[in-house]
């Protein structure tokens, strides 16, 4: 035990590497339009003459295309950068949306208790009985059936964020509710109630700051899951369209060429996706062990 706590003062090397990787990826994502040699959103830049060129380091490669080109003649470096961007944005969007929903419901349930608590928690029970991927597929399927083609094109990222987040808020709600119930029994909260401070203020000023660290830990761990869910949906064809591809869409496209010798079209985005998720997982794992070892044990 003693050695362990000693080691915990500094994060292990793996965590530092993961943080560095994640940082680099975030920078790439933010500056993608400046870094990428081409803008894949501009269809005019596609050139069939350049299609299916292997990565530059292979025989038949072209120095213009470091990781080769896809079946449309798009530069893989560029589509991956923009794909990474979409994957990260949707992942973060879903996590933030779920966290906000979960914190609000958890606070309300824990603070007011009784009837309100029962209702919120029963609703949570219903959501948690369905795996995220199932709900997300269902919602994007319904959206597809209900919305016109043009609307769907414009709304795809938002639909994805919503359909992933709608099932993930429960975890936050449960944790926040439990912590709120602990905090609410403390003297300072009781005092605040007695002097008649409004409920939102008590929650915001006194309870929220104390539960933020667990929320952050859950959010980090869920970020990996949200990115994977988005990739899976896009892989199954229920996610981002090919003109605005996420990493999952790129893998879906590349999959058609996996056995044709054109492995790089699928393997390059898949590698980036795995590295991204792995980095997030390593950090999430560390945070969990470090801050709140019991949090995810169930």
């Amino acid at each position: 035990m003693a050695t362990q706590s000693l080691m915990r003062r500094l994060p292990p090397v793996s965590v530092m590497i993961a943080s560095l990787v994640l940082l680099i990826m975030l920078i790439l994502v933010i500056f993608a339009p400046l870094i990428a040699p081409m803008d894949p959103r501009d269809v005019a830049s596609y050139s069939l003459m350049d299609m299916e060129i292997p990565p530059a380091f292979m025989e038949g490669g072209d120095p213009r295309f470091l990781l080769g080109t896809d079946n449309q003649g798009r530069d893989l470096v560029s589509v991956i950068l923009f794909g990474l961007r979409i994957s990260v944005v949707i992942g973060l969007g879903a996590v933030i949306f779920a966290a906000v929903l979960g914190v609000v419901f958890g606070l309300v349930a824990g603070f007011f208790g009784g009837m309100v608590d029962s209702i919120v928690m029963r609703v949570a029970d219903i959501f948690v009985s369905f795996p995220t991927i199932l709900v997300a597929l269902l919602i994007s399927g319904i959206a597809r059936a209900q919305l016109s083609a043009e609307t769907m094109l414009a709304w795809a990222p938002l639909v994805l964020i919503f359909s992933i987040a709608i099932n993930e808020w429960v975890q936050y709600a449960r944790t926040v509710r439990a912590s709120t119930m602990v905090e609410i029994a403390r003297d300072y909260v009781r005092a605040a109630k007695v002097i008649g401070l409004p409920a939102p203020r008590i929650m915001g000023r006194h309870i929220l700051p104390n539960i933020m660290s667990s929320v952050m830990v859950i959010a980090t761990i869920n970020l990996a899951g949200a990115i994977l869910t988005e990739a899976t949906l896009s892989f199954l064809g229920a996610g981002m369209p090919p003109t605005y591809p996420s990493l999952g869409t790129l893998i879906r496209i590349g999959n058609q060429f996996l056995f044709s010798g054109l492995w790089w079209i699928a393997v390059m985005p898949a590698t980036v996706l795995v590295i991204l998720v792995l980095a997030v997982n390593v950090i999430g794992d560390y945070l969990r062990d470090h801050f709140n070892p019991k949090l995810m044990a169930r």
């Binding site: 501009d42 269809v43 005019a44 830049s45 596609y46 050139s47 069939l48 003459m49 299609m51 079946n71 449309q72 597809r144 059936a145 016109s148 083609a149 043009e150 769907m152 094109l153 064809g237 369209p241 090919p242 003109t243 999959n255 058609q256 060429f257 996996l258 056995f259 044709s260 010798g261 054109l262």
Partner: protein, 524 residues
């Protein structure tokens, strides 16, 4: 393999796989789609109907050269222009033992033209059927119609007593609550019997030893498996799980052809791929503004802007046939003088656009399925890129065929990709009637986008009742000439039919893309 195991007791079955000898010639093949239903009237899916042909026989069928020949009908005559008389084959038995006679034909035709039949358009000119004697029936037509035999080649004869026994005389239909025993069972007179149907998994057929015709195949069993994903289908062939895949993705052709023990067979198909234009007053992409596509110069510009050679060479890997008209050479009504695409000429395209009042181009939607035609998604993106060169901004929308085609029917797209094989009749009247003629409730069934050209309509109605073949073909050609000059549709190419199979399999290929295992041989 399956019979041997299934009939054994479970205990013995444990040992069976270790010793099961390959005593039967089984053809295992996979395709991208599944058989939607075994009810011939419950769906409009051409692939499903092609598989049905293994189990059912029509009155007339297509031979190895795709020429019509007698099947369950031995001869026919036109008694009156609207009454055709068919003599039926005697001594034919259905798979379950019922004898085939005129009652079966009457019941089948009535089922086909029932208002509840999903595919009743396939026999739209027939309004009635009468039994003359045990082996003679009359078909009553709405009007004189030259293509009746072509249509009948896709009408599969079912057994009346069988349908009656299973309460399936009416076509399967969820809304009317009609029992659909026929949707997952089949009892035909065809070369193969349906032994097992597991949706999304497989269909197993065994040879019909009592078939009325002399078999041209040497199979004992056929197993069909639907494998939607291109890569998984190729993997199944490479790993030896199936003997044949149809279609094979073009990008895998070279690799498979170079693999020992496998071969690729390819031919141009009948299916022409083209773009459909919206002729509605406004485009969905630019509400409130007049639709530029209604100007013939704009449509010509769009055609001039497409680099057909590059699409043919790169996307289609040199295996397609660049087209200038809606029908392939094998289809009646084809004319090589019309089949000339407008040349790739960006400058000319820009000039035409400017002339039409769009010097800076315009915005439009552009839709494609991603699982229906060869390289469909890629074609859309490539064309969007080519159109961008002349300033036309196409918002690409790609989706699965299951949601795509309902949207095309509802006219939700501005420009979209469509394929037309002119099947089953293999006649130019098919696109003329369905795509080119104005949608008036009778004609124009697939023209959901407001195309209406009075000259075309006149020609369509003239061709419909023209029994003089030379005149009829001239009428068709005239209509296609107008189509080309007005760029009513924008043809791209005929896509290839490409199948990959084990070298042991000998399977003839047809431009209509039907897989016909009754012509297949497996080398021992």
């Amino acid at each position: 393999m399956k019979t041997s195991i299934k009939t054994l007791l479970a205990g013995i079955a444990l040992l069976a796989p270790l010793s099961a000898p390959a005593f039967a010639e089984t053809l295992r093949w996979a395709s991208s789609g599944d058989v939607i239903s075994y009810d011939p009237n419950a769906q409009v899916d051409s692939f499903t109907q092609s598989v049905h042909h293994m189990v059912f026989d029509p009155l007339v069928r297509r031979n190895k050269e795709l020429k019509l020949e007698p099947a369950l009908a031995t001869s026919w005559e036109v008694v009156e222009p609207t009454r055709w008389r068919f003599k039926l084959r005697q001594g034919v038995k259905f798979h379950e033992g019922q004898a085939f006679n005129a009652d079966d034909v009457v019941a089948t035709i009535q089922r086909q033209i029932d208002p509840g039949a999903r595919n009743r358009e396939n026999l739209s000119t027939v309004v009635g059927v009468e039994k003359v004697d045990e082996y003679t029936v009359d078909l009553i037509l709405r009007a004189p119609y030259p293509l009746l035999l072509n249509d009948l080649a896709a009408i599969y004869i079912m057994s009346k007593p069988w349908m009656a026994e299973h309460d399936a005389l009416k076509p399967g239909n969820a809304s009317t609550g009609v029992v659909t025993y026929a949707s997952n069972h089949a009892n035909g007179t065809g070369a193969f019997k349906l032994k097992a149907y597991e949706p999304d998994s497989r269909s197993v057929f065994e040879v019909n030893k009592d078939w009325w015709d002399k078999p041209q195949h040497n199979l004992d069993e056929v197993e069909f498996r639907p494998i939607a994903s291109d890569a998984t289908r190729v993997a199944a062939l490479l790993s030896g799980e199936v003997d044949m895949i149809a279609p094979v993705p073009l990008q895998d052709v070279d690799r498979i052809a170079a693999t020992d023990g496998l071969k690729v067979v390819e031919n141009p198909s009948l299916r022409t791929i083209f773009f459909v234009f919206s002729y509605r007053p406004e485009l969905h992409a630019t509400p409130g503004q007049p639709n530029p596509l209604r100007d013939v110069r704009v449509r010509q510009a769009l055609w001039h802007a497409i680099d057909g050679k590059t699409i043919q060479k790169r996307l289609m890997r040199g295996k397609s046939r660049t087209a200038g008209m809606l029908v392939a050479p094998a289809v009646t009504g084809y004319d090589e003088d019309i089949d000339v695409p407008l040349p790739y000429d960006v400058a000319k395209a820009k000039a035409l656009l400017a002339e039409a009042g769009y010097p800076d181009g315009f915005k439009t939607g552009l839709a494609c399925p991603n699982d229906r035609y060869i390289a469909d998604e890629q074609i859309c993106l490539a064309v969007a890129s080519m159109w961008a060169q002349i300033g036309v901004q196409a918002n690409v929308n790609v989706e699965s065929k299951t949601t795509y085609f309902p949207r095309t029917d509802k006219g939700e797209f501005d420009v979209y990709l469509l394929g037309w094989a002119s099947l089953p009749p293999m006649d130019g009247f098919s696109p003329l009637q369905a795509l080119l003629a104005t949608n008036d409730g009778t004609f124009g069934g697939s023209n959901a986008d407001g195309l209406s050209n009075p000259d075309i309509d006149k020609l369509a109605y003239a061709a419909a009742g023209e029994l003089d073949e030379t005149k009829r073909v001239e009428t068709l050609k005239e209509a296609f000439r107008i189509t080309h000059d007005q760029v009513l549709y924008l043809p791209l190419h005929q896509q290839p039919v490409a199948w990959a199979m084990s070298s042991k399999v000998d399977m003839p290929q047809f431009p209509d893309e039907y897989v016909r295992p009754w012509f297949a041989q497996i080398k021992k």
